[in-house]
Amino acid sequence: MWSVVVEKRGQMKIMQMAFMIIGVFFFFVLVGLFFLNFMIGDVQSGAYELQKRQAISSLEMIAGMNELSFDSRESMMLDEDKLMVMSGGLGDGYEDFWPVASLRVYKVYPTFSEEKKCPGIDCNYYDIYDSGQVDVVTYSSFVSICKRVKEFGHIYDKCEIGKIVAGVKIRGSEAVNED
């Protein structure tokens, strides 16, 4: 009789311990999931920032090309006269030159309500290159659009704000616009 009571108490102790271990295990699993959630969130935002950085770096490289740049010492500074030349049909021989599927430059300020292709009066965007590909993902960044202007007998550099938009061919099925 005594041994049965001791055995039962022992079983109870083992059950208590088992429940305790299961409880602690689930608790740590929850804490781990919580921690993983935070870590994955950090990795995702890091990946997004890295992707953005890479896109801006590519756009910087395109904007720094001699065919477009205003001042080779400054980044993201486009020459409006060169844009005019490249978008006015004179850039037709450059099909194989551009490392992107499409390239456009918009004037952002002063703002406009209707798109008008350059060259033209009150135009607001330059269509530098378009390969005609449909499935492209676009990346954009602000740029300075500068030109040398003569006013009141003096020459000075006038810079406005624009946006360079490059289209890159989609690999597989991803389709995101980064405007």
Partner: protein, 169 residues
Amino acid sequence: MRIRDKCGQQEIVGFVLIVVLVMVGMMVFLVISLGNNGEPLDSVEVSTNLDVLMRTTTECAITYEPDYDDFEDLFKSCYKEKSCSNLDRDACDYLNESLWDVMNGMMVSEAGIKDWSVDFLERDEDGEVGILRVEDWMNCTGKVNSAQRAIISGGDRLIVRMKVCMINN
């Protein structure tokens, strides 16, 4: 009876100790993971935006036309309390107005940005003193990105800081 009591007390003390340790661990983790959330993060995108803004030519000529200030020079002119001779306006007034127009024009074309602000500050030994703030900042709940540029005017150090609030996805 006493031995059984002591065993029970030890179990309770052990359990409480585990709970306290886990709580402390979670608190430390929470403080580390949430600690930086309020602070704006340096962003290469905002940095580019700020560079482009600073190079933009304004309509304000301090001495003669067409010696127009770009925004970087206009910040300096505002700090030195100069006037735009061609517009017959105070440089700070013109800066306030034109900066809002330009920033608004820029941000309208950015789908991912909800709010923005540009702070113009003077930095001295005591810290930073605000000179001008232009903003369209309502109730930002998303990630805040920022960038800043230092401008040297005479012996004084000026700071232009741009902050943007991203739309939550």
